[in-house]
């Protein structure tokens, strides 16, 4: 951060965010571009500790864990992006509907949100994933339909306060239609909430993806996913194979922290109260 001290916080944050974004993109693309041969089984080189040739070591089938982790990460990022995008869109639709709809609709939506929050997250994702026959689809849907509740509440509250602002009342008195007010007054205020909510939802989504894969629900065992690598590593943990457990998890944590930081910075920039500090 010392490097950027000469600029104001806004510029500094923007530089920082661009860097983070590029890093994430690089991790994602790199994972996609790794050929299958790089993670092929190779019994000659099984259970090797980390070395220069295999930075994360190799697993019990001789697959290179560094490449496997990166490949898993890009799967996680894909699932995370889709799931949080769907979730955020649901959140906005539901939140706006609750705030502008009738009292009856608002009550119904609040009840549904309570319902989603009333069952532990992990159990709910398990149930949905089970209903859809496990696999990638179950995982994606399970995560997408369970993460919108928090953001929906925020959006509902935001719309409720916006509606009471004088400028909305003035527009209404001037004869503007509800659609016009929605487009010109509500949406511009909701967009930052949506973006920040979306990005801060992403770490939750990939953590849940990893957890559910770890429990054996998500992707099939041959596929590289952080959860699956870690669940395999459990079998060899007592034999002292520490690297399959430590490094893939550490990489996941790193990505989660990076995205979290990204979201926090975005929030500061988009919020007019803290943007100029």
């Amino acid at each position: 951060m010392k490097l950027f001290r000469w600029k104001n916080r806004r510029t500094r944050t923007l530089c920082y965010m661009t860097l983070l974004g590029l890093l994430l993109l690089a991790a994602y693309l790199f994972g996609l571009l790794i050929p299958e041969e790089a993670v092929a089984t190779d019994f000659m080189n099984a259970k090797l500790p980390p070395s220069l040739e295999h930075p994360f070591g190799t697993d019990s089938l001789g697959r290179d864990l560094f490449f496997r982790t990166l490949k898993g990460l890009s799967v996680s990022i894909t699932v995370g992006i889709f799931a949080s995008l769907i979730s955020a869109v649901i959140a906005v639709l539901v939140g706006v509907a609750a705030a502008v709809g009738s009292k009856w609709l608002d009550n119904a939506i609040c009840f549904v949100i309570d319902l989603f929050m009333g069952v532990p997250h992990t159990v709910l994702v398990l149930l949905i994933s089970f209903a859809l026959g496990r696999g990638l689809k179950g995982l994606l849907v399970g995560i997408a339909v369970t993460h919108w509740t928090g953001l929906a509440r925020v959006i509902r509250g935001e719309v409720l306060t916006l509606r009471n602002h004088p400028f909305v009342a003035v527009s209404r008195r001037l004869g503007k239609s509800s659609g016009w007010i929605l487009r010109h007054h509500l949406l511009p205020h909701l967009l930052p909430q949506f973006l920040v909510g979306l990005i801060l939802m992403f770490p939750h989504a990939i953590l849940h993806e990893a957890s559910i894969s770890f429990l054996g629900y998500g992707l099939s065992p041959e596929q590289p996913a952080i959860g699956i690598i870690l669940s395999e590593s459990m079998k060899y943990l007592s034999a002292g194979l520490w690297w399959p457990a430590v490094f893939p998890g550490l990489t996941l944590v790193l990505i989660v922290l990076l995205v979290d930081k990204f979201g926090d910075n975005l929030k500061r920039i988009l919020d007019p109260y803290s943007a100029q500090e």
């Binding site: 319902l115 159990v123 149930l127 089970f130 429990l215 629900y217 996941l252 944590v253 989660v256 979290d260």
Partner: protein, 330 residues
């Protein structure tokens, strides 16, 4: 006295009704979800029974009412549920209520330890952070909290297992009791010893929420006018913290802790799986993997009940202690 208790009972009753409605809808939703599943429960049940003829299969289907319409099946299930019969687990071949009862005992011990530990750690750290706002203890501890809140629970469990059970060999690798011992032979100390590492995992994964919340509350309180007045009167920082700070932040912290039952249960699914601890969480994961529908439904409902009770306690706690909410209702 009477006019104090009556509104409280009214609120309790209203919340209770809402809770029952919620549970009913959870049961409908959960039942609909498992009915959607492509897994054939009869096939799953017969898997362990060896070869069966078409006739026997038809008998099982008849007995279970597989061919009835879903709504009818739901009401059959609900009516037997209300009379205390949750069905037979296809995985363990025992009544679901027995399994839940037995495993709940293990789980509640684990979750209670984790709950107390995370509450204690979180509250203490929150107080330190709030009292030393923006100075180095606050800055460091805040980073630690953010770090722990981004750790996946199961990975935290794996690392603790690796360090304390495999490398240092201070703790056993898993299970709730030493292997090969009868249930009656296991002492309370051994149970506790086996429970400590999963409980530590669970509490480390969840303390940051309460810590950050307590920090914010304490900062808000310490900026209040009465604290300024206390300072002007010459009270020391320690006295202020004890007289004004702690009393004001204890109840919100306790409430938050009671309403965190959902995360606690969700985390226990992962922590119990990592440590092969025989609790409800690991049973839920196994039930789903082995398509044990009665058990999965039972645990889902039970977890919803657990969360609801936590929320109810949190809500009532506020009502008992905070006069503002009490007055407002009247």
């Amino acid at each position: 006295m009477k006019e104090k208790i009556l509104p409280f009972l009214g609120a309790f009753f209203a919340k209770g009704v809402r809770m029952l409605a919620l549970l009913l809808v959870v049961s409908i939703a959960a039942f609909a979800l498992v009915s959607l599943s492509p897994v054939d429960p009869v096939q799953q049940y017969l898997l362990g029974a060896g070869p069966v003829s078409e006739e026997q299969r038809a008998q099982v289907e008849e007995y279970w009412g597989v061919n009835d319409p879903p709504v009818e099946r739901y009401f059959n299930w609900l009516s037997s549920l209300l009379s205390g019969d949750m069905g037979i687990s296809t995985l363990y071949r025992r009544p679901v209520s027995d399994i839940i009862g037995e495993r709940f005992f293990n789980s509640i011990a684990l979750m209670l330890c984790a709950w107390l530990l995370s509450g204690g750690i979180g509250f203490a750290l929150g107080c330190v952070m709030g009292a030393k706002k923006d100075r180095w203890p606050d800055r460091i501890l805040k980073k630690v909290c953010y770090l722990f809140s981004s750790l996946p629970t199961f990975w935290l469990g794996l690392v603790l297992l690796l360090v304390f059970a495999v490398w240092l060999a201070w703790f056993p690798v898993g299970f709730s009791a030493p292997i090969g011992m009868l249930d009656s032979e296991v002492s309370l100390w051994q149970r506790f010893y086996h429970l400590l590492l999963p409980a530590l995992t669970l509490s480390l994964a969840s303390f940051s929420n309460i810590a950050l919340h307590t920090r914010q509350k304490l900062i808000d309180v310490l900026e209040d006018d009465y604290v300024l007045f206390a300072r002007a009167r010459g009270e020391g920082e320690g006295t202020i913290l004890r007289r004004h700070g702690l009393r004001n932040i204890l109840i919100p912290a306790l409430t938050l802790q009671f309403s965190s039952f959902a995360e606690l249960f969700g985390g226990s699914v992962l922590a119990e799986t990592v440590f092969s601890y025989p609790g409800l969480g690991s049973a839920a994961a196994e039930a789903g993997l082995n398509s044990d529908i009665p058990l999965l439904l039972g645990i889902t409902l039970f977890s919803a009940l657990f969360v609801c009770v936590g929320n109810l306690i949190a809500d009532m706690l506020y009502r008992v202690v905070d006069p503002r909410i009490r007055e407002e209702r009247r």
